[in-house]
Each structure stands twice: as C-alpha cells, then as structure tokens.
C-alpha cells in the first residue's frame, strides 16, 4: 500500500461528524442506510457460507471470496440504476448480490446445479444474469475491461441512457488491454465507468510491488479520463464518489475512473496459505477498518439503528443464505445428456 492510498483511508475513517455531514449532503434516508447495512451483511454471510461449504467438501471447484470488500459492491450499486450494465471480475459474488441477483440461483450455480444461473456450466467465476443486465464475471484477469468498450459503444450507437460499469482488480490494471480500452473509451467518449477494486494484492503480489506508480487511478490521467481514489471500506464514501462518476458518465460526456482501496480477508482462492502477508495485517484490517463494523457503528451512534435491530438484520441476512443453501442442495445436477448443449446457438 502506498502512502497515497493509505492516506485515503486514514483521512476518511473514524469521524462520525464527517459521516453525518456526508449523509445529509447526499440526502441518504435512514431506510437507504439500513438497506446498505443489510446488503453488506448478506454478502458477508454468503462469502463465509461459501468458505464453510468448501471446507465441508461440497464445492467442486475454486472460488474467490470478497469478504472485507462489501462496501465497494454496495456503494456502487446504490449509485447506479438497476438497468445499467455490469461487467465483472472473478471475485464477483458481492457485486451480484448488490445488483439484486437471486441468491438462490447464485448458490445453486456455486454448487454446480442445473437450477443455477448458468445451469452449472460456470460456477463461482462466471455467474451472469442477463435479465438484469449483469453481463457476467470473467475468469481471465482483465478480460472484461476491453469488452466494456463494446458495451459502451453499443449504448452510444443505440442512443440509450444506461451506462456500463466495469469492475476489475488492481492486478488487472497491469494487463495490456487495460491501456487499449482506456484509450478507446476516452477517444470515443463512451458511457463507461471503470472501477478498480484495489484489494492490495493480486494473488500474492502486493500492489506496490506490481505497479510502478500509485494510485492506480492516476493512470486515467494519461487518457484524459477524470478519476478519483476513495476509501473502499467506507460505503458512504464509495457511494459519494460513484454518484459523481455515474452522473458524469450518464451525461454522455465520456468515461470516468474510480479506484476503491479495500482489503480481502480470505486468501486469493482455495490454494492460498497467506504466505505473503502477516496475520497481524489481516487482523488490523478486520479490527480497525472493517466496512460493516465501521458503518454499523455510525448507524448506532446516529440512532438510525438500535443494537437489537442491528443483530436482527444480521441474523435475517444469515437466514437468506441458509435458505439459498437449502434450495441449492435440493436442486438437481445437470443431466449428463445435456453435456454438449449451449456450445452453439
């Protein structure tokens, strides 16, 4: 983590007065704030459940969990319209939940069932929901970044008001297509909001070892794209930045780039033994910067939530996930006779 990025976090964290002022300025109702809390809790429970299911031997493949990064997904979704297009990265469970995906269908896909979003063909890494304009997660790092150019171009050619939100990680920003795509969206003033979800590590590579100059978002400057770098563990700050960015993009004047600085609690994937970071570092983020804990504290102090209501929201979120697992486990496997379906239309 660079000094620049660290400052972003430390400046924002902690001040309740700043939180109240920001919420007021943004006109966020109590109901909306409680919804943000609820969705973050739902994502957190989904991810811990995924880990538990894996440990219980119920998951065939790999997974990339986003616990610790919930505020990014939730802040983005509040700032955009439900019919906006999403292109996502491999650590995408949270974004799908925040965009309103059916959690039963997600869990069924995670367990490889025929009732899942992709009929069990995709798994955790490729969940897509075309009905809600969620164009899917991508297993190739950075693979979706240039596709956003095409989505933005189609929206522009079709004279539509929706925008394309393309989310990728810090690692993806070092792929060549990142630069091709940024150049082209800027050149053609396409309605694309690029979001770099910097969770500090690629697989094990610290962003500071992988990136010659930080913050990553300053690279947008080279392409004439306006940018911001925000504390990705502060859901209101994420919303604030995304709202400005999304409004800019929707006005048809060109793309915008936002970097959200955050942290993942779990390893990169199931093979990760956390050899590249210390337990102390992980604990520090969990104890001092956790996005749900920070936000809930503000809600309690502002008396938007009471202690018991906060627990209730958390317990309800957990139940949603438990029911999704029940649905998924009771669902059928894909029929072997359907193996070759969906290759060609």
């Amino acid at each position: 983590m660079t000094d620049d990025s660290r400052k972003v976090i430390e400046q924002e964290a902690g001040s309740h007065e700043a939180f109240e002022e920001q919420v007021k300025r943004l006109g966020l109702s109590d109901e909306t704030l409680i919804d943000l809390d609820r969705t973050m809790c739902t994502i957190r429970h989904f991810e811990y459940m995924a880990d538990k299911l894996y440990a219980a031997g119920k998951v065939h493949g790999t997974m990339h969990l986003s616990a610790g990064q919930e505020a990014v997904a939730v802040g983005i979704s509040l700032a955009v319209r439900s019919d906006d297009y999403f292109i996502n990265h491999h650590r995408g469970h949270g974004h799908f939940i925040a965009k309103g995906a059916d959690i039963n269908l997600m869990m069924a896909e995670f367990l490889g069932k025929d009732t899942g979003y992709n009929h069990g063909r995709g798994g955790s890494m490729h969940i897509a929901d075309f009905q809600s304009n969620n164009l899917g997660a991508n297993g190739i790092v950075g693979g979706g970044i240039p596709q956003a150019v095409g989505v933005g171009l189609a929206l522009q050619m079709q004279r539509r008001k929706e925008i394309c939100i393309c989310i990728f990680g810090d690692g993806a920003s070092n792929e060549g297509v990142f630069h091709e795509a940024l150049n082209m969206v800027a050149l053609w003033k396409l309605p694309v909001l690029y979001i770099c979800e910097n969770n500090k590590y690629g697989m094990s590579m610290d962003v500071a070892r992988a990136t010659a100059k930080l913050p990553i978002a300053q690279r947008a400057e080279a392409y004439g794209i306006p940018w911001a770098c925000v504390d990705g563990n502060d859901v209101v700050a994420v919303y604030d930045a995304m709202k400005i960015a999304a409004d800019h993009v929707r006005a048809g004047i060109g793309p915008y780039f936002v970097e959200t600085v955050t942290y993942r609690y779990f390893g990169h994937s199931k093979s990760d033994r956390n050899l590249y970071r210390s337990k102390e570092e992980i604990e520090d983020w969990k104890q001092n910067r956790d996005p749900i804990m920070r936000f809930t504290k503000h809600l309690l102090r502002a008396e938007i939530l009471g202690e018991s209501q906060a627990h209730e929201i958390d317990a309800e979120a957990e139940q949603v996930i438990v029911r999704a697992v029940e649905f998924a486990e009771a669902s059928p496997e894909p029929e072997p006779s359907t193996l070759t379906e969906y290759v060609y239309a």
Partner: protein, 328 residues
Amino acid sequence: MPEISYLEAIRQALWQEMKRDERVFLLGEDIGCYGGAFGLTHGMLDEFGPERIRETPISEATIVATAIGASLLGMRPVAEIMFMDFILLTLDQLANQAAKMRFMFGGRTTVPMVVRMPAGSGTGAASQHSQSLESVLMHFPGLKVVNPSTPYDAKGLMLAAIRDPNPVCFVEHKVLYKTKGEVPEGDYTIPLGVGEIKRAGRDITVVANNIMVMKTLHVAEKLSEAGIEVEVIDPRTLLPLDTQTIIDSVLRTGRLLVVHEACQTGGWAGEVIASVVGSPAFDYIDTPVRRLGGKDIPIPYNRGLEKIAIPQEDDIEQEIRAMVEGRI
C-alpha cells in the same frame, strides 16, 4: 450474372447487409478513407459514415473485445483484423471469451459477431504477414471458421456469417482477392458447415481450402486429359467441418488427398483424414491417404523460397498421379 472479384463480393455482402440491417457495423484499423489494407472497405465510409465504419487505434485485442461487447447488446459487428497473423494478439478475446460465453453462461446469451482476417502467403510479406492459421482457430468449440475460395461463396458465406448467432472467424485469402467469378447481385446465403463438391470425379477425392481449391481445380482439368478424374471438395466452413460430404466422396473414389497452405504439422488435414479413416469409408480406401500441407517453416520473404514453402500445382499433380497410379 455479373462477374466481380472475390474482394468486391465480400464488400458487396457487407454493403448490402449494412443497408438491410442497421445493427451491422464495421470496425477495424484504417478501414475508413484508406479502405483497409487491401481496399476492401473502400467507399464505405462515404456511404455509411464514421459511426458505422468505425476506425480504431492499433489495438487488436480490444477490437475483438469491442465486437464481443457490442454483440451482447444486440449489435452485429464485423471486425477486421488487418492480417490473420494479428489474431494471435486477440486470442484471449476470441478463444477464452467469445467462443465460451454462451456455454459458460448456460446458454443465456449469444455472441453474434464476425471477425474478418486476410490470410495466406504469396505477397512477399514474410513470416509475420503470411500465415494460414485456420487450424489454430478450429480448436475452440463455440467459434465457427469460414474459409471461402470463390467470389460466389465469399458473398453467400459472408451474409450467412453476419446473420449467424455465433462468433464467426471469416478467413479470406489475400491472393484470391483479385480472382473473378459470377456473383448474383441479390441476397443469398450459403449455409455454414456445408461443404461443396467443386468438381466431380471418380478416381480420387481431393479436399482443399481457399487458394488450394483453385490450384487443385487447374490440376484436375489437366489430369482429366490424361484420363484421371479428380473429385475436388471445398469444405467452405472448417468449423464445424462437413465430414459427411468427404466420407461419401471417399466411398466412391477410394482415395483421399488433403491439400492446404497451412503448415502440415497440426494442420486441419489431419482432422479430415482421421474422420475418414475412422468411418465406414475405411473399407473402401485403396491407397494410403495422404496430405500435402505447407512446409513446417515460417513463410520466407524471397520470392522463390516463398513459392516452394507451400504446395504448388506441380506438387499437387505429382501427388495425385502417384496415388492414382499406385506408386505410394
């Protein structure tokens, strides 16, 4: 029927389809006033304007990715990759993305797009601008690979490719661009995945693609005078490959030769031969089955060396004679 060139036939297909369907647009490098490296899109910018004749920076991977993204939103993009060699810069988007999206996403989307790519040697363009990589593309289920040899086929296959709901790699041959043939002015399509017997003959089946179809047809006319009747099959689409037409032909002729410009090792001739010898036609085969591919070397610059790097008419003739005369 008007006689036009292979290049003009492809342009006519693009032009007519853009008139018919406003979702169709072209994108690629220098396809505007320059008309593309081979002039194929010449005049189209004036007719359709810069939004639909979309000139791009030199960013091949993102050109293909842009076609993918636009196709997901209902557009019908036709991307030009200036030389087929440059598809190697786009393989993630073609092979990991476009080819797999429909399958990975459980059949919930389609990726209707065409990527045009001029292939082949014979222009002195050396090793990085002369390859025939169609065999590479055949290894990615989800893609279709189309490879016309005549102006008539080029137009009909292009119209079918644009209307196909799958990602189609449209492989053109640079040396064929100037060849002429009769092409109807109206709308017609040739179904993808259906081969054609370009010339009927009883003695041997020769399967060839693009320029090798032309070379083999010349050889066949010459051999006919010597009493050898060659059946020439052009698969037209390499993926999916119409193996049935080939198997049926070998059942009649009992001999099979496959000719392509692509490097022999790993070339699609192996696929054709495996399909035939694994079929009931095996019992009807009289002579060892043979393939004649490009030499397993990069394409050289020097005119003489470039020529002998790929099968020429003399090579094809000798091979057919040896097989028919029982010298193999």
